[in-house]
Symmetry: C2
Subunit: 248 residues, 2 copies
């Protein structure tokens, strides 16, 4: 099978015989950075129709047309794992979104906690990071990115069947491997706090909720971004989709 | 107990009654960035004598003197976990060293593999990242940082009793939680490749070694830095020091 020169996420429908136009910034990247030309093969995915191989059949300044000729992979079901996280400062939130995408998060939910000091979240930039990571990591979807909301509102509307893994840095929660031993699969979310951590009031309220599973992440004090990605990796290894080997 | 205004790693010996001089860049940071003044409390650690509280008893342009008055924590044994990793480009290697320090790596060993394209490793910059992460994460040590060397030389001198967790992105290795079930504690190392992965020749040779345990990290293709930190987090959760709760 032809190895595509790049993978791109598009919004449009994908099917054999269609010719798809890339958006201007993708076209610029393909032409000016990757220096692809008519006849070169690229792969496209949209989160619904699987991944398609296509040949560039026209390219110019700010436009590129791709003729789809073969489905490379059918759309597959992916894990249902949310990451709810307090916004943190710029380089670290970019990094967090990239890593969460690589680690298989299906939905990113910024939440304001009592000690959150970052007030503005640039959703467009975060979405661009998520798209790039999805393109890079062979995912067939891009994680959904929700508007930031207060933690209390997120919890008030919480779906009862979704379990919530609370990263509790207070040092009193049981180790993550112990807490997750024998844990059910099904929908989960990981919740991490801001750099200053959750307040005791927040922790007490969270731990009373029937869907919350509080876990400790070892003897060191982790930065907020480290805690989030470390919890996601341990979760995927213990309960999530790392339990199967890769199909390529 | 007084909460220190900052934690700093120093090279000098630490003991009650000593007065310790900070190095010029630390003194500048303490004076110009943190704006500390005589009487403020800081915590110092050196990897040997535990962590000490001290009061600033003199400060000026490029110098700062700290009078130690109380041991905050005794030196404790920390985990024996190496990270052997192919050097990657700048922002990602900085990130990798920071996260490896937070995740409890005791020794960082850059290794050149066949597909490694980054030739020069700035050990001074990496060491500064490790120190900063150790100061931040309440560690009592800074991971040792070795000179880069070819993978073959690292393996030729490998200590027989140290197990090597090989992050195998070929898709054929068993899942990490399965491979590590019932694994012994004791000295371990995690080995991760460059962006292009290990060659098949390298993987074949590695898998023949009696101390190597090859593991898969799920269905997605991970960037090199993501693979390293995700493997470290899963290892600590399953076999390493995340199995105990934090002592603060």
């Amino acid at each position: 099978m032809t190895t595509p020169r790049t993978r791109l996420h598009v919004a449009t429908d994908l099917a054999g015989g269609l010719s798809v136009g890339l958006d201007p910034s993708q076209a610029h990247h393909v032409k000016a950075v990757l220096r692809l030309a008519p006849g070169d093969t690229v792969a496209l995915f949209n989160g619904r129709d699987g991944e398609w191989l296509g040949r560039i059949d026209g390219i110019g300044k700010g436009w590129c047309s791709v003729a789809l000729y073969e489905q490379r992979r059918p759309q597959a079901r992916e894990g249902d794992l949310w990451l709810a996280f307090a916004p943190i400062k710029r380089a670290r939130i970019d990094f967090l979104v990239e890593k969460a995408t690589e680690l298989g998060v299906s939905e990113l939910r910024p939440v304001y906690t009592e000690r959150t000091i970052v007030e503005r979240v640039n959703l467009d930039r975060l979405r661009a990071n998520a798209v790039e990571a999805a393109e890079q990591t062979e995912r067939l979807t891009v994680p959904a990115l929700r508007e930031p909301e207060p933690l209390a509102r997120l919890l008030a509307r919480w779906p009862a069947e979704r379990r919530l893994l609370l990263c509790d840095e207070s040092g009193t929660a049981p180790p993550i491997a112990e807490s997750l031993r024998g844990a059910p699969s099904g929908p989960w979310a990981v919740l991490t706090g801001p750099e200053g951590g959750f307040t005791q009031t927040e922790l007490d309220a969270l731990k009373k909720l029937p869907f919350v599973c509080a876990v400790g992440l070892g003897p060191r004090v982790l930065r907020a971004d480290t805690a989030a990605l470390a919890a996601l990796a341990a979760f995927q290894a213990l309960v999530g989709d790392w339990q199967a080997t890769r199909q390529r």
